[in-house]
Symmetry: C2
């Protein structure tokens, strides 16, 4: 089974009732409770109520399990990014759509994102490189969007594309810390506020009256 994409339009996440999904859920719970280092493969299989062989059928190691927690989230976000890029929207509409996608996917997977951002540095060097590549693709897409729109005059050059990008991902990466699934604000509300804030900052200065020629 191809775990990376689903031509039927499914977002690629296994239902939690699947063995693989149950193992990931159990691992995320245990990594959150006691940390990656302190969690053993035996504890994960006990929490997930699966045989050890089932875990090794899906994951080569505990490192691989933590990597997959991240990969599923970032693959979904990269796929969202590519969909948005294909729509041919204005820079402001592209940024708004991207923020909506990033906030909603991160809020839905807040437990996974929190575990990854705490424990991701415990991954093997090879898996850290793979996660850095995926993050860089997201980062570079936003950076390129902002730089092009600033060059074209659609966005104000109030701050560098790097600072705009770090600001956006700063909020997204911290969201799992403060987001409350049962809180007053829904992910779409949060995305709308964040879009309004960043787009207000990037709004080009009103054009001065054209000099007569």
């Amino acid at each position: 089974m191809n775990q990376h994409s689903d031509p039927a339009g499914n977002d690629g996440r296994p239902p939690v009732s699947s063995t693989r999904g149950r193992i990931i859920s159990a691992a995320v719970e245990l990594f959150a409770e006691q940390g990656f280092d302190a969690t053993s493969v035996n504890q994960v299989v006990a929490r997930a109520s699966v045989a050890k062989g089932a875990l090794y059928h899906h994951f080569s190691s505990k490192d691989d399990l933590l990597f997959e927690v991240y990969r599923e989230l970032v693959d979904r976000q990269l796929s969202g990014l590519h969909d948005i890029q294909r729509r041919g929207l204005s820079p402001a509409e592209t940024l708004r759509a991207l923020i909506l996608d990033l906030v909603c996917t991160t809020a839905e997977k807040a437990a996974e994102a929190k575990v990854f951002f705490r424990e991701g540095h415990r991954l093997s060097d090879a898996n850290q490189q793979r996660t850095r590549r995926a993050r860089r693709e997201m980062h570079d897409a936003v950076l390129g969007l902002v730089a092009a729109a600033q060059a074209g005059g659609e966005f104000s050059a109030v701050a560098s594309p790097e600072m705009v990008t770090f600001t956006l991902f700063g909020v997204i990466n911290e969201l799992p810390v403060w987001y409350q699934p049962d809180g007053r604000k829904r992910p779409a509300d949060i995305a709308e506020e964040l879009s309004a804030l960043l787009l207000a900052a990037l709004r080009p200065a009103p054009t001065a009256a054209e000099p007569s020629t």
Copy 2:
């Protein structure tokens, strides 16, 4: 010795040549390299080249050591906040001064901040409560500043005070991940860009011509 404040105006951080400072530096290095859980008190005293008794003279436990790493940074930031609040600046100037202080202190203590934001959830409940209180004080100060300035019309109500606050601390808390001490941008440059971005977003809409009465 009172470790919490220094009436002479010293920022309270011990020089690294002090025993206490050497222990903290060694602990930060080890927590960063191998994680809080995997680090023993024996490893910290070996790395710091101090006797175990010296560690227990300054810190009651490994938990206390991690807590102190955070407390020194946040105490300094709270003290900076109180200094700025006493200056009676406009809301925009207050926010600018606060961002400068937060960026500079976080950049200077990037290793400590990174370790704390990864490992802080491993603290005892009592120490987690203390760190939450200190963070809440910083958070509430920014929230209150933005709310009052929005109510007074000095800031635009483009986004809620909560979202502005989460955005600011999102950038600050992520800064240790991307900040490069030997990079092109100095902390003051980063602060200036971030201030420009947030203050542009919060700039009140130009007043419409007053209706004649």
